[in-house]
């Protein structure tokens, strides 16, 4: 309807965001690369494929334990490339800055971006700066884009067409850290809990698994909408189900505490340094061993498997042995966490 307006929920990353993307952006921009809706667009290159992605960052507050908007902007785009199986190569960045922002804050953010880019070994090669009137944006918004090279053998990783029952689901550590770290850092919450965001570039970790010759059948970073959204999206319309065992999914003690108090389900809370992989049964233990050696993968675990049961659905065995379906996040759980 012409009178309908954009609601905060349209940016939640859940169903309502997907509806907006499909009914508006994809409808108008329609082309075969966009329609796949993978984290990075996979494009034909000369010898290999190109992976190309872009992401805007509006996190509030701009500094939070474990990171800041700059680190997030670099790691987020690096991860979107890396989870598609690509080697991230170059980044661009675009700043929209609110009049009045402290230059020292901007410098902190830029230094943090440089540090993260160096860690990930991906240079920031071009950029743009705009300043808007006071209160026309909130402190600073950053958009980063990235290009990576994707070897032919990995080009199915972002869609995962070869998953079969029996395949294993791996995650590189605890869930819900980022979302709860940002929430706890907001002044309006008056919560005294030092939760560190898991914000980190994962291209090194992912590369070490791929370089070991492990056949990763599917990979995605569990950002907005959390682990639940990745599972629900992947299983949707498929001939297999995806089963998770709650007892195997690590949630840090303090994160669980805040989730309990506020009624959040950690499965749906955003991560910024977590990758979900699906591998064949035989590859899983080997992959786990490699991931665990990496600094961002010490708490990695096999948390579930593809099943013949419940085709097209993601489902959970709860901590007490009950069963339930994992659906996509519907409205917004938490605004402006990335």
């Amino acid at each position: 309807m012409a009178k309908d307006k954009i609601l905060l929920a349209h940016g939640s990353g859940g169903k309502i965001t997907h509806e907006l993307i499909n009914n508006l952006f994809v409808k108008y921009f329609r082309n075969p690369f966009l329609e796949k809706q993978t984290d990075s667009a996979i494009l034909p290159g000369y010898n290999e494929f190109l992976a190309f992605t872009t992401d805007g960052f509006v996190v509030d507050p701009i500094f939070f334990p474990g990171g800041d908007i700059g680190k997030l902007a670099v790691a987020g785009t690096v991860n979107d490339l890396a989870v598609s199986g690509a080697v991230p190569k170059y980044l661009s960045c675009s700043f929209i800055i609110e009049e009045g922002l402290l230059i020292s804050d901007l410098e902190k953010i830029v230094a943090s971006m440089a540090e993260e880019a160096a860690k990930a070994d991906v240079p920031i090669v071009t950029g743009d700066t705009k300043v808007v009137n006071k209160s026309k944006c909130d402190k600073i918004f950053i958009t980063t884009s990235g290009i990576g090279f994707l070897p032919d053998v990995h080009k199915k990783i972002s869609t995962g067409p070869d998953i079969h029952p029996g395949d294993k689901i791996i995650i590189n550590g605890s869930i819900a850290d980022h979302g709860m770290a940002v929430l706890a850092a907001r002044n309006d919450m008056e919560l005294q809990a030092e939760i560190l965001s898991d914000c980190a570039s994962l291209n090194g970790l992912i590369r070490s698994v791929l370089d070991a010759g492990i056949n990763i059948k599917f990979m995605r970073d569990a950002t907005r909408g959390g682990l639940a959204n990745v599972m629900a999206e992947l299983s949707s319309g498929k001939s297999y189900g995806l089963h998770l065992d709650e007892n195997k999914i690590l949630v840090q003690e303090n994160v669980r505490g805040i989730c309990e108090i506020l009624g959040f389900d950690p499965l749906y809370v955003a991560n910024e340094g977590k990758v979900v992989m699906v591998t064949g049964e035989k590859d899983a233990e080997k992959a786990l061993e490699i991931i665990k050696k990496h600094q961002h993968g010490r708490d990695a675990a096999i948390i579930g498997e593809a099943t013949t049961e419940h085709p097209g659905k993601a489902w959970l065995t709860t901590g007490i042995g009950g069963k339930r379906i994992i659906d996509m996040l519907a409205g917004e759980q938490l605004p402006r966490i990335c």
């Binding site: 307006k5 954009i6 609601l7 905060l8 929920a9 859940g14 169903k15 309502i16 509806e19 309006d188 919450m189 007892n247 003690e253 669980r256 505490g257 309990e260 009624g263 389900d265 419940h310 659905k313 489902w315 959970l316 065995t317 709860t318 901590g319 007490i320 042995g321 009950g322 069963k323 339930r324 379906i325 659906d327 519907a330 409205g331």
Partner: protein, 360 residues
């Protein structure tokens, strides 16, 4: 996590389940009347663990779900006024009113703030002396004492720009109304948080009048299963009574201070419940001496005519007569991102819980 994990112990859960299976021979319908229970039961997958003799029903335990559409329309009318700020719990902002919602009004520029307690709203009033702050008071005996304390504080601090729009309700009239309407209920899983405040005295009348057991339950799997076990045992022995399966939090006399605060600030009024209609002496209204803090008295607004949903069976769902999946709108027209009925809006609503955690 300390104080939680021991109540989610898989071995203990299996032991209680074994006991339940052992004693349960007769069909039994148990109703919970608390949004927290609705969520916990679905979240932990409890229905998938119980024997087929036991049927769990979700009653009108979600305060957002039973609130009248007129309450939302009233809040929207206030939100549209210049220099008025609505302070509300997050759950309410997506509830559809007759033609709009607080979420839509927010997108239209209305000043609507999500708060976590009435005290946040009072702080807003202090920091915005040139605005009128209206707190949307919602909930049962659990949240009403908090609101009452907020009103006492506002009076003590002589705040002139703070008021309450109350949709607070009390639980027992609804528990009676359901049985009066003929809903098959063999036992109530009585609300845990409500009972911490009220104690268990108010359930005695229900048990005596209707011969239906009431067992107060907590929110962890072992709490809920223990309550279910006790209700099954009562039913098997035809011995309905009021018991507490949540003794670490609930005492039979309740919380005296909280009850006093409620008593001081509120009086009972007839109130409208979605699905149940008007129930006598079931709502909480500010007493006359606090009328300066009653938004419905001090803020003049034109509230649009109330339009009710078409085809929505929220009423039957709230009564436990129908399951969310029985509704023609469920999952198709009515989803959490585009809710038609209130049961779908609140995360504690039966439809939202069912939609998110559909048992398998």
């Amino acid at each position: 996590m300390k104080f939680i994990d021991e109540y989610r112990d898989r071995e203990l859960v299996q032991r209680i389940l074994k006991e339940i299976r052992h004693i349960s021979t007769r069909d039994i319908s148990l109703m919970e009347v608390c949004g927290g229970h609705t969520m916990a039961i679905q979240k932990f997958g409890i229905p998938s663990l119980l024997p087929t003799t036991i049927k769990l029903l979700s009653g009108p335990g979600c305060p957002v779900c039973v609130s009248s559409r007129r309450f939302i329309d009233h809040a929207i009318a206030i939100a549209r006024k210049e220099k008025h700020i609505i302070a509300t719990f997050g759950d309410l902002i997506r509830v559809p009113g007759s033609t709009s919602s607080l979420e839509k009004e927010k997108a239209n520029g209305a000043d609507i703030r999500i708060v976590y307690s009435i005290l946040d709203a009072i702080n807003l009033a202090k920091s915005h002396p040139d605005h009128k702050i209206v707190f949307l008071g919602i909930g049962f005996e659990t949240t009403a004492p908090g609101t009452a304390l907020g009103i006492l504080k506002a009076k003590q601090e002589q705040l002139h720009n703070f008021s309450l729009l109350s949709s607070h309700k009390i639980m027992p009239p609804a528990m009676e109304a359901l049985i009066d309407e003929g809903v098959q209920i063999d036992g109530y899983i009585a609300p845990g948080h409500v009972s911490t405040i009220t104690g268990t005295g108010m359930y005695q009348k229900i048990t005596k009048k209707y011969k239906v057991g009431c067992v107060v339950a907590g929110f962890e799997p072992t709490d809920l299963l223990k309550a279910i076990y006790m209700l099954v045992q009562q039913h098997e022995h035809d011995n309905p009574k009021v018991e507490i399966a949540y003794t670490r939090a609930v005492r039979s006399e309740g919380n005296k201070k909280a009850k006093e605060a409620m008593e001081e600030v509120f009086e009972l009024q007839d109130d409208w419940w979605r699905g149940l209609g008007i129930l006598p002496a079931s709502g909480l209204k500010l007493r006359d001496i606090y009328r300066n803090f009653d938004a419905s008295e001090v803020i003049e607004v034109d509230i649009e005519p109330t339009k009710e949903d078409k085809g929505c069976i929220c009423g039957e769902i709230l009564k436990g007569i129908s399951k969310p999946s029985d509704c023609k709108l469920f999952g198709r027209v009515c989803t959490p991102q585009a809710p038609v009925g209130a049961c779908m809006v609140s995360s504690e609503g039966a439809c939202a819980a069912f939609y998110r955690y559909r048992g398998s």
